[in-house]
Symmetry: C2
Subunit: 326 residues, 2 copies
């Protein structure tokens, strides 16, 4: 999709020209590092697309996109510390490269930048509104991350709670990206809300797909090691759906000590758990659930007060996100 | 001072009535914990005092005070993780009580609340300005904390860099408290700036005194263990001033391994380092420096466009802060 490609390029250039500087500079290096190691830039592109639907002037849209991407990367820096994740985008996690204290502080200054960036928007009233939306979303994202951490020690996790968690932890930010981008270029309130709902539902669908691909994706194209969630005993949607039908067997597998299991043993373990996911129909249920949210997202597009060309652009973005490539 | 006592009580009540709530609540418990274990509340009182000088309506002033205290406590939660400090206000540090991941996340949500609180101010334009001031101050505070961490591995720390560090890390927030409080009740721009400078200089004087009291304070009244900075080998103003005159001897003392030294040995070590601080005149120089900043603060009061009664109230606050009691 040409438009998405154009926005991707435009945003990457903007990001390069807006590296964080300050004194001492080593406070800002981790921020520039995490922002510089790539990612698909779904969220800033969503902000640019949301803007583009209502006006061709993209100056303020780039500010919104920058703020959104800054927030997303702040959350990655801190989440990786909390989750003790050593890798991010196949590179060293920020706290591994710079140490935990500096990574905490760099995350803090990034969160402050989220607001400082939005304060650059020339229309003060619009800037105020966007800061309000951003702060409310930021609160939800923290709540989502806390829910996720709580799940680790929770024996029962209802599917609805799981959906709320992924909604807050990741999907609302995609919704906010669309909404904030649209607002900046004068979208009517109803459209702004529909675009928010669109992004949230697409984000949930994406996240459910992520859980599925982690176990059943093509190792060639998935980018991460297939089976990682199973090995790390994560409570994914597959695990939670399977648990409702095959409790004992699944719990036995997840109680196994895997630290000293060799490569071949691990591969076998992953395959056996995957079989449970298939036999219990957790896989097919998860796929259906993902499709339901994707459909909800598509329904939002239909209701927008936009011409068919614009709706087509949104649909194309939708497909590219779920295909995970553009 | 009756007024400060009144504000202290008023703010503590406000804080109790505005505990953070949300879902999951365990995200907010650490925030309520750190906000609930006391402190002198200098900063929120400064905001209330700054407001009171210009108008008797204190509704928005309490919002500003709340935001300032939220920010201060956010920084304590994260700093204690970075500095590996187990205690805060003679109680368990937040990350000791709740674990590091939840403490990081609670700090994050507190930083978000700083802005959400300011967004409650009814006049949108004033709210926007205060959010802008707050974000700029927050950036400085992060820079101050990073400078402080950098000093640990830096062999030479110029006195001026040290002053910049304490200014950014702690003093600007006191300045901002006065300024933001004053703005909310319609202070003229020149006064708002003078009150900022007043708070910054008072904050620097306070911090220099803090360094002095840590080594030379009365154990009965200081509240913390006297000599703590020496034992932890902190690069305080006393250390930096002494280092300029007695490098070798002081470095030898700070190179000593103290982990296995007993109580009596530690006490002797502290006394010997204190002797160096006296002999090199680091103590008297630090006292002079502190007095200079306190005087600068007093000069700001003189220039304010306020009546003598108001100026007297500021002077009384000034004295109470430096006496560390009210």
């Amino acid at each position: 999709m040409e438009l998405v490609g154009k926005f991707y390029k435009q945003f990457c250039e903007y990001l390069e020209n807006h590296a964080l500087v300050g004194d001492p500079q080593n406070l800002y290096d981790p921020a520039n590092y995490i922002l510089g190691i790539g990612g698909k830039r779904f969220r800033p592109i969503a902000a640019l697309l949301g803007s583009h639907l209502y006006d061709s002037n993209m100056d303020d849209a780039l500010i919104v996109a920058h703020s959104i991407e800054m927030f997303h990367n702040f959350s990655l820096v801190h989440d990786d510390i909390m989750d003790e994740a050593d890798k991010r985008r196949a590179k060293e996690a920020t706290h591994i490269k710079y140490g935990i204290p500096t990574a905490i502080l760099a995350g803090d200054v990034m969160l402050v930048e989220v607001f400082r960036i939005l304060q650059k928007i020339s229309n003060q009233s619009v800037s105020f509104n966007l800061q309000k939306i951003m702060a409310d979303i930021a609160k939800l994202v923290c709540e989502g991350q806390q829910m996720d951490m709580n799940f680790e020690t929770q024996s029962e996790v209802p599917i609805l709670d799981y959906i709320t968690m992924i909604k807050n932890k990741t999907a609302v930010l995609l919704g906010a990206a669309f909404k904030m981008g649209a607002i900046i270029n004068g979208a009517p309130e109803k459209d702004a809300q529909l675009l928010f709902d669109y992004g949230v539902n697409l984000g949930i669908a994406f996240q459910i797909d992520d859980d599925i691909l982690d176990s059943f994706g093509d190792p060639e194209t998935f980018g991460k090691k297939v089976g990682g969630d199973i090995i790390q005993k994560k409570k994914t949607i597959l695990y939670l759906l399977a648990l409702k039908k095959e409790k004992k067997k699944l719990l036995d597998y997840y109680a196994k000590e895997l630290d000293n299991v060799t490569g071949k043993g691990i591969a076998q373990h992953v395959e056996e758990v995957k079989s449970i996911f298939i036999e219990t129909e957790a896989l097919s249920s998860a796929k259906t659930l993902g499709k339901e949210f994707a459909q909800k997202a598509m329904n939002c597009i239909k209701e927008l007060n936009l011409n068919e060309k614009s709706k087509l652009e949104l649909q194309q973005f939708h497909e590219l996100v779920l295909k995970r490539s553009y």
